[in-house]
């Protein structure tokens, strides 16, 4: 695994970085921001899910676009060969009617599927995060942000909450955010 270095701080040699001599207030400000930034835990972002959705979206756009092109071509063909002018043209036009271009129908199907395909959110609560992710994926959903929270009642590692909740009807591929227990607060 290749570590990805943090953004370099001196990308631009022309611009001076923060001067080494900071006033007391500037130091306090910097310190406050850094401490503040460390307070929450970063949620885990689902890179795979983002990638999948982007691909799906790209494919759908491409199919829709090629469908539109095919429909336009069919329209132009019909306009250029008005019915009844010559037997051959008439036959071609009829053939066009009987068998619409394959990609146009594919586009129609894909669009219809995208619009009609809705799924209900299954319950992921009480399961380990891995199982919850698997079940959501199996239901055609992807996992959104995963955050952790303290819980006195739910064992660490188990899902406390999901959003949108159980039974909600959502489009296929929608993101479901999970909250995972960190165990009880120990203070």
């Amino acid at each position: 695994m290749i570590p990805i270095p943090a953004a370099r701080r001196d990308d631009d040699p022309l611009s001076a970085a923060a001067p080494p001599t900071m006033t007391a207030f500037e130091q306090r400000l910097t310190q406050a921001m850094e401490d503040f930034a460390n307070r929450p835990q970063s949620p885990r972002y689902d890179g795979d899910g983002i990638l999948r959705r982007t691909r799906r979206r790209r494919t759908l756009l491409a199919v829709t676009a090629s469908g539109a092109v095919a429909l336009t071509c069919a329209g132009v063909t019909l306009a250029l060969h008005p019915l009844g002018h010559s037997p051959a043209a008439a036959t071609a036009a009829v053939a066009d009617h009987r068998r619409p271009p394959a990609s146009a129908s594919a586009a129609a199907t894909a669009t219809a599927t995208a619009a009609a395909h809705r799924v209900t959110v299954p319950s992921a609560i009480g399961q380990t995060e891995n199982i919850a992710v698997r079940e959501l994926n199996a239901a055609g959903l992807s996992v959104g942000t995963v955050r952790s929270a303290r819980s006195d009642t739910v064992a660490p590692g188990l899902v406390i909450a999901e959003s949108p909740g159980l039974g909600t009807l959502v489009p296929a591929g929608a993101r479901v955010a999970l909250t995972v227990s960190q165990g009880p607060a120990h203070h």
Binding site: I2, I4, S15, E26, M33, P40, L51
Partner: protein
Amino acid sequence: VRIDGRRVKAHRSGTGSEEIDFVEFVRQRSPALFRTAYVLTGSQDVAEDLVQEALEKACRHWRRISDAESPEAYVRRVMVNLANDRWRRLGRARETSPVPDRADPRDAYQRVELHDEVIRALQALPMGMRTVVVLHYLHDMGDQQIAAMLGISSTAVRSQLARGLAKLRADATPDRQQALIPQIEGTR
């Protein structure tokens, strides 16, 4: 070496390397992006959304971005500009929550208290000014880098920074605390 290696790979095999790179990037760099978003917005929820949205945007153009010298700087730019757009769209309403719960009670109480003053003052700044302050002090970025990232002049960056700092200093150092500050800062 890494960038060269990846470039060669990307040209040869296309989508395969794209996939590995993006997922790996998200895994490794999203916590850093989240930190920036959190300091910028002061809200965990808003910050989460912001990072998610920036990552999704970046994913659409990942092949181009991963060829850039620093993908992280690029995604951070997307994110910062999203924050500014959103803030503008909401009619400059305060989108930020008041300073959130004090998460770590082990921290010396007074120090947290003092920090909260600063953070509260920071969150009260207009978003553009706040962005400049955060990029400068949290990310050590220079005037010209910030200017390039936000699409404004470096003169504007310097003036926003100076005004932001003055405002912070005035807001975060109420009279009753002035006596306390040198004492605490002296211990650091």
